[in-house]
């Protein structure tokens, strides 16, 4: 097994072969379930108001991966999404643009053509999203196609079946190969935490993805319930924080699915600040995978600035 980067000796040792990888992952400290849930709930009650809220809203908007992953997607829908990504609230030019637009591989070119020169990335899901049930060749071809079409970010799914059966080596190899196929594109590794059952598994999968070279670890596809939850995101944020302590490298986290309101988004930002650190309050290191969240952020932004409640009539229809 080949380590993707030069790692400190303890970590380099972990990826030497499958049995040492297993030993490393099972040697990670267990997650205190009650503790992490209580801490997540406790931080969730923190009150963010007025100027700080406005700042948090703008930050959250700039972190959104505006997503459409439906069987019914059309080129027209992707183009309108790209327009919304460039200028989320056409009445208010000071609203920041979103971080990226996330689509299926066949829609990448449409989105990329519309976003040239805007600084907004096109992210593509790949590797037989959302189930990940296909052969390695097809997953690689899927990834290469997305990158050729212009994707600057690739969201891959791990083989949860292999992970849950304990075939960590196989999952590791897959991530390494996909990372190679990505070239310069950033790789986000979707753990699909809703299928991993325990927080211990989430911690192991996070470390596995980081060891294999994932630039981001992402909670979910959005197709499985439960999707992103605060405690799961806490565990993943702890992993990237510990990764930085051991290697000096900054890796990102992306919760996706089920984050619909500004209140939720701010709870996540508080978690980022408290668990990982203020360094991670940056669109390069933290993203929201969402579609309906953006409208709620825009409505809340208007409410803050106008002094009265806004409504869905004042933002674009998705």
């Amino acid at each position: 097994m080949a380590a993707p980067t030069t790692l400190p000796s303890a970590l380099a040792d972990a990826v030497r072969d499958e049995s040492s990888l297993r030993r490393f992952l099972h040697g990670l400290p267990g997650v205190d379930q009650v503790g992490v849930e209580q801490r997540a709930a406790g931080l969730g009650t923190r009150s963010i108001k007025k100027a700080s809220k406005l700042h948090a809203i703008d930050l959250a908007i700039s972190m959104v991966d505006l997503t459409t992953l439906e069987g019914a997607d059309t080129h027209g829908k992707v183009r309108s999404l790209a327009a919304k990504a460039r200028r989320p609230d056409p009445d208010r030019p000071d609203v920041p643009k979103v971080a990226a637009v996330c689509v299926y591989p066949d829609m990448v070119k449409t989105a990329a053509d519309d976003l040239v020169g805007t600084g907004i990335n096109v992210a593509s899901v790949a590797t037989a999203f959302p189930s990940g049930r296909s052969t390695m060749d097809i997953k690689l071809a899927d990834t290469r196609f997305a990158v050729e079409q212009g994707a600057a970010e690739v969201d891959m799914v791990i083989d949860r079946g292999a992970f849950l059966s304990g075939r960590y080596g196989q999952v590791f190899e897959e991530i390494v190969k996909i990372k190679e196929a990505c070239g310069d594109a950033h790789l986000k590794v979707i753990l699909e935490t809703g299928e991993l059952v325990t927080y211990d598994n989430v911690r192991r999968a996070s470390w596995l993805a980081l060891l294999a070279g994932g630039d981001f670890i992402k909670t979910s596809t959005g197709k499985v319930q439960p999707a992103a939850t605060l405690p799961v995101t806490h565990v993943m944020l702890q992993a990237v924080r510990d990764w930085k302590e051991q290697t000096g490298e900054l890796r990102g986290v992306k919760p996706a699915g089920g984050i619909r309101t500004t209140k939720d988004a701010i709870k996540y930002l508080v978690a980022v600040h408290e668990v990982a650190g203020p360094e991670w309050l940056d669109p390069n290191l933290f993203r929201f995978g969402a579609s309906t969240l953006l409208n709620d952020l825009l409505m809340q932004r208007r409410t803050q600035l106008d002094g009265h409640y806004s409504g869905p009539d004042y933002v674009t229809v998705d």
Binding site: G307, H308, Y309, S310, G311, P312, D313
Partner: protein, 287 residues
Amino acid sequence: MSDRITVAKTYKLYIGGKFPRSESGRSYPVTDAKGTFLANAAHGSRKDARDAVSAARKAFAGWSGTTAYNRGQVLYRVAEVLEGRREQFIAEVATSEGVAAKKAQSLVDTAIDRWVWYAGWTDKIAAVLGSSNPVAGPYFSFSTPEPTGVVAVLAPQQSSLLGLISVIAPVIASGNTCVVITSQDRPLPAITLSEVLATSDVPGGVVNIITGRTAEIAPWLASHGDVNALDLTGAPESIRADLERAAAGTVKRVLRNKPSEDFAVTPDMSRLRAFLETKTVWHPMGV
């Protein structure tokens, strides 16, 4: 045997078919006409109003989409449950408004009859207010009334049940959903009405009932971007003009009926008509 200890009540709000406490955690004592303590009511805040508007918006598609006939049946069912709670309403109206039992009984009976009267209107509105229009061209042109949307209702301060029903029933009969701020000092009949609505077939969110200070919550509803119309009946005189101005900011329909309105007389269609839009369709005959 000792006297039974009375069950002290602290009522809650009625939002989206549920009975939440006020987000603010506040409540206020409700007294009868002579100042004797009756119960605690939730002291609603602007955030409760906001939640109620979201609930009303969520319920609008379903409620406005049901057939007029079905809406009539649902409203008639409410009248049945109102009738079942008749004694409770009589007692509450008597204590709240400080009237004799006989007068209270007549007020409650009129209120229930008023509800039935509006229930009967649901499937007749389109026939009375709609039309096929004679136009100078080869088109078939017709107009139909459609509900305005989410209506914020400031319920009358004096008439705690008859007045309340006279302002809610016409709003929901035509397919609107509403957020109601009850009479500030006489909220108990409105709270019982929310229990009636929760146990009849009215979908959650169609009527949302908030108790509290009208002057505190009303401005937030008047300026709310997702409220389509405002009924000023129970608005304190001192803030009526401000509420109208705020409502104009988001182009709401405003019903400016005065608090002095006599609810005992059989109404006309004006309250029904106040919260309707007219949709006109031009249809090419194509021959």
